[in-house]
């Protein structure tokens, strides 16, 4: 038995070498086809009708809003309000005029106080 095996070994090796080379060539050709296929023009894109988006139904039982802050007694000193919070942006026109010396001088009018000087010390 051993002598027979040793006798056929070269034949088996030859078969493997022959078929292995062929498989490798086929695989290389397959890869080349795939690579060349990527350079080919794309096929036509067919428009597909959009499917409707499913929304959950609106809630029928709306919970009430959470309660607002409860007014509490103020502890002094309190933080100063800001102009924005106080809505006093319009005051800028007051301030603009009353901080402008030249404007005030031009616009200010002396009160017409009757000139009656008291006689004697008050």
């Amino acid at each position: 038995m051993t002598a027979s095996r040793e006798k056929h070994m070269p034949e088996v090796k030859g078969l493997f070498q022959k078929w292995g080379g062929m498989v490798a060539v086929v695989l290389l050709l397959l890869l080349a086809v795939l690579a060349l296929g990527g350079c080919a023009e794309p096929g036509t894109i067919t428009a597909v009708e959009p499917t409707a988006t499913a929304f959950p139904p609106p809630p029928t039982d709306i919970p009430p809003p959470p309660p607002g802050p409860t007014p509490v007694a103020l502890d002094f000193p309190i933080a100063a309000v800001t102009q924005e919070a106080n809505g006093s942006v319009d005051d800028q026109s007051c301030v603009g005029c009353h901080t402008d010396e030249e404007t005030l001088k031009a616009l200010a009018e002396e009160e017409e106080v009757p000139e009656v000087e008291p006689e004697g010390e008050g």
């Binding site: 319009d90 026109s93 004697g120």
Partner: protein, 364 residues
């Protein structure tokens, strides 16, 4: 006091007002008016120049505002009390008209001490609308208390030294006259001399150690019990006479006779538990029987019910005065006492409770 020009009265300082806590509330919150316009007339429509204390200040300073309504500076109750004492209920309506024309400008709101000069001086912002926690005495206090108190305290009466508390102590008004007194916290009084003396010379931070055993010769005898401090430690002060008020060309007007510099010790018209002294300085006030005749006839029918030489606390205190030079400067010397000869015949009945009829005996 120098006048302030119209523009300067309303000139706002950005730093002293706008960038402070009060400035953050803006202008319209307290003064009303219309924002967002450059037109002067439109901007000032509905504007309130001197806001009401309760409305402008009450939200943040409720305690002070509530108390202040009862203070004499705010209510002017002292004027009403003095007038009512000489008048009669059916005459008060006419006197109230008079007060509206001549007295109300001395009424003070919060702002008229802490923000601006008083109306009596024509108003005008203090330091560009800065809120002065302590009002500057030279622009506010003495704006109303000028011709007597200011001149005495600062030594502006010729030949009379300034008050030692001012010239040596450098004490402004509020050192003695505290915020509590100004704001009515000490009680609701009908007259400035109601209740215990406030301030008192013997307050804790002042002269609490004065007493009969303090080593001062004159304090060791009857003087501390029988004399108010000012009898020995004040000196010549101003007395005014014959004030008459009227309206001329729509303006309030008054006229007084020439004032006189004198020092007179009289009997204490307010003698009691709080003011136990027998002798006090007395000052002639400018009232006259027909001071208010412009507003009606005989508006002071009970003129004689109250002295015209009134309990006084002159503001020219000195450690040494002519009275302290020697015993007989006062004892046996009529010069410093209010005697019948010092009082006009027409006013002797009104002053019978304060005229000194018997001088202290001369010392050997």
């Amino acid at each position: 006091m120098p006048p302030v020009e119209a523009w300067e009265k309303v000139f706002l300082n950005q730093e002293s007002f706008s960038e402070t806590i009060h400035g953050r509330y803006g202008c319209i919150t307290c003064h009303g008016g219309v924002g967002g316009t450059d037109d002067k007339e439109a901007a000032h429509e509905g504007m309130i120049g001197e806001p009401d204390s309760a409305e402008a200040c009450g939200d943040c300073h409720p305690d002070q505002v509530a108390m202040d309504e009862g203070s004499l500076h705010s209510s002017l109750a002292g004027y009403t009390t003095a007038l009512a004492a000489r008048s009669a209920p059916d005459k008060m309506a006419q006197l109230e008209v008079m007060m509206g024309n001549h007295c109300d400008k001395c009424h003070t709101t919060c702002g008229q001490c802490h923000v601006s000069r008083p109306t009596n001086l024509g108003g005008g912002l203090l330091e560009g609308h800065a809120f002065k926690q302590i009002p500057p005495m030279n622009l506010t206090c003495t704006g109303c208390h000028g011709s007597r108190i200011n001149d005495e305290y600062k030594g502006k009466n010729e030949g009379v030294q300034a008050d030692v508390h001012y010239i040596q102590g450098g004490m402004p008004c509020f050192t003695c006259h505290t915020a509590d007194e100004m704001h009515g916290v000490l009680g609701e009084f009908e007259h400035r001399y109601d209740g215990a003396p406030t301030p008192s010379c013997q307050d804790a931070d002042c002269h609490p150690d004065v007493g009969q055993d303090d080593g001062i010769q004159y304090h060791a005898s009857y003087h501390l019990e029988g004399l108010s401090c000012q009898v020995c430690h004040s000196t010549t002060y101003k007395n005014c006479y014959s004030c008459h008020v009227s309206m001329e060309n729509g303006a309030a007007y008054f006229e007084t006779d020439e004032s006189e510099m004198m020092f007179k010790i009289g009997l204490n018209p307010l003698q009691g538990e709080d003011r136990p002294w027998k002798y006090v300085p007395v000052r002639h006030v400018p009232v006259d029987r027909d001071s208010f005749s412009y507003y009606g006839e005989d508006l002071l029918p009970n003129f004689d019910a109250v002295p015209t030489w009134k309990y006084a606390t002159p503001h020219n205190i000195q450690r040494n005065t002519p009275q302290t030079e020697a015993c007989n400067t006062c004892h046996g010397n009529a010069e410093f006492f209010l005697t019948v000869d010092d009082v006009a015949p027409d006013e002797r009945k009104a002053n019978e409770d304060v005229i000194v009829e018997e001088l202290p005996f001369s010392m050997p």
